[in-house]
Amino acid sequence: MAEGRLTTFLGRTAGNKDTAERFGIADFLAYGYLLFGVLIILVPVLWTLFSSVKPERAVDSFDTRILPIAQVETEVDGIGPKSEWIYTDDNGNQKRVFKAGPTRRETDVAPIDDPDAVIKVPRTQLTPSEEIRVATENYLDPLLKRNGQDTFTFGIYLFNSVFVTVAATLITLLINAMAAFALSKYRFRGRLTFTILIIATLLIPSSIILVSLFFVVWSFGIFGSLWGVIIPAAATPTGVFLLRQYMLTIPDELLEAARMDAASEWRIFWRIVMPLSLPALSVLAILSVIWRWNDFLWPLIVLISDPAKHTIQLGLTQYAGEFDSDFHYILAMTVVSLIPITLVFVWLQRFITTGIATTGLK
């Protein structure tokens, strides 16, 4: 009986008793596809995450075990810290030893508790003595500038990234909303021209104006400063378009009521239109945060020469270029720069996805 109920339970998808359908092949394929997709998305990220807490030696030797496993380091009396090995003799007895000489076919080893009793043993009978250890130094060295890792000035990068992101997003929201308000709620000469201009901008890829934008930004004197990254991208056609579409749905009568209430046009914008456009504004805010936080090419051009102006993305690129082989640090810093946006995402994911899906359009 219980079994029968279980299979019915497993065999049902959402819906009431009458409309529920059996778990059919279509559902099977759908869930299979989803699972497969999510694996492809998550595995690389998780793998990076797990690898980033592995000790240097495990990373360098491309240890593919998931857990951070490190060889035990033991303090040997009178000699200092040594890597610990397990020696299995022919009878199957095991002994903790350390290497007393270079590794050859027959290697000199000595027991940990008796450093002077050096014996020769075959290399094949030695296995490393391992423990699970989270390598916090991967994170702490660059962040605390220990062990010569003083080029990754995370604090500065974070500040620059946050500054660029927040300033650009606020400016974008304000001026795009103003433009969208004008285009959606006023009848005036030139409205169509302006709308077409903005839609045309929607189709102009930013990378075809790289060179001349460089000249413009340079002649304004904001080249090499964070404002050189913030200002040029502040007026996004996408934002204007998205907000305009949303504001069109706000009834005109509301604005007229406010006019009868003696609100100035600016006050109508600020007190009525902005609060009512909140869903679209927050979508634009999220998009703007994603764009600005992840922006790479333009900051690379404008800010690269001054390390004190680097954003997290630039800092990380420079760092990875500089320490080409120090994978353990690179991975750890990758994870560090991935954390803020991931937290934001986990916190707001429902809101972000439904928001973008309902407000549409990039």
Partner: protein
């Protein structure tokens, strides 16, 4: 003489489309004026011109003797209740009421006094913390009126405020708005396409058609002395009956078969339309009377009986009786049309032709 509101030859066009074709009107202090007319005749446009939400193409709008064409809506001292209420959905009821007052940079104490006063008057005190989305239709209506009241305006403007309510609530709010007018004594301009609302609420009715004023007058004046066929048909329910006929001198001959001498003010020759209200017609079950109709349908409401019949030539006639009578379909009954209840309209211009009283 200084009127509270005066419109002088107001015209309005949207691009190429002329919507208001020259309106002259004067409204006195404390009047309840209703603009009535079919949908699309320009009532709302006229109201919005008064409010200052649209600018007239030409003509003058005078408020208390001052030309206010160039005064922005907010400074005209009017307040408006919108058809959709236009309550700010993101503000509580209290914030909705005080928003306008804040714009005038009024002191907080004064704002509170006015808002509480209005809430008290409209019995919405318990709703002050809610948002419009959490209110019923009738409650929203009250809040919208409250928002107009707190401004203590010279003139209240209402644009079809009851059209979003169900029949019962509409009746109730009609009475409440009338009471409010009696209580506050303000000038009110009320737009509706419903002639019953107009008849019941108005001190004066302005009938509009195609962007022009057709007739202005007290409700019963319009009812009894409509200026033309349009007003006659628009005011009163059920509608006035219209029968086609021919006039030669003072003799009327109806297509449906009636000859009668009419006491016209002037002789007239040509096509005319006879108008007669349903309740003016008498009925005899045995077929006696001026003419006969065949009963096509009837409604017995107890206190009234409506009879829908047709003459032999196909023209229809509605009769309203204040009594209960036994009826059957296809029964032939006699009807009496008293001459003193006749309205005669010119067949071409549809203007009323005067009768000597």
């Amino acid at each position: 003489m200084i009127h509270t509101l005066e419109l002088r030859d107001i015209k309005k066009s949207f691009g190429d489309v002329d919507v208001i074709h020259g309106v002259d009107l004067a409204i006195e202090d404390g009047e309840f004026v209703v603009f009535v007319g079919p949908s699309g005749c320009g009532k709302s446009t006229l109201l919005r011109l008064i409010a200052g939400l649209e600018d007239p193409t030409s003509g003058d709008i005078m408020l208390k003797g001052e030309r206010v064409n160039n005064t922005p809506a907010s400074e005209r001292g009017l307040s408006m209740v919108f058809q959709s209420y236009a309550l700010y959905p993101h503000m509580t009821v209290r914030q909705n009421l005080s928003f306008g007052l804040e714009n005038f940079r009024m002191s907080r104490a004064e704002i509170k006094r006015r808002v509480d006063g209005a809430a008290d008057l409209l019995q919405i005190d318990q709703l002050m913390g809610r948002r419009p989305g959490q209110l019923s239709g009738g409650q929203r209506q009250r809040v919208a009126i409250g928002r107009a009241i707190v401004r203590e305006p010279v003139v209240f403007l209402f644009d079809e405020p009851l059209s979003n309510l169900d029949a019962e609530l509409r009746l109730q709010m009609r009475v409440e708005i009338s009471n409010l007018h009696a209580e506050l004594g303000n000038t009110m301009i009320y737009v509706t396409h419903d002639q019953i609302e107009a008849m019941t609420m108005a001190d004066r009715i302005v009938v509009l058609k195609g962007g022009q004023i057709v007739q202005v007058g007290k409700p019963l004046d319009l009812y009894n002395n409509p200026k033309n066929k349009f007003v006659a048909g628009f005011i009163g329910a059920p509608q006035m009956n219209f029968l086609e006929g021919q006039m030669s001198g003072r003799r009327l001959s109806l297509g449906a078969g009636l000859l009668r001498d009419i006491p016209m003010a002037k002789d007239y020759d040509g096509k005319v339309t006879l108008g007669i209200r349903p309740e003016a017609i008498g009925v005899s079950l045995d077929g006696e009377g001026d003419m006969q109709i065949k009963v096509q349908n009837f409604e017995q409401l107890g206190s009234v009986t409506y009879i829908y019949g047709a003459f032999d030539n196909g023209e229809r006639l509605t009769v309203q009786l204040a009594e209960q009578i036994p009826l059957e379909r296809n029964q032939v009954i006699g009807v009496t049309l008293p001459t003193d209840k006749f309205h005669i309209f010119d067949g071409e211009s549809e203007d009323a032709l005067g009768l000597s009283a």
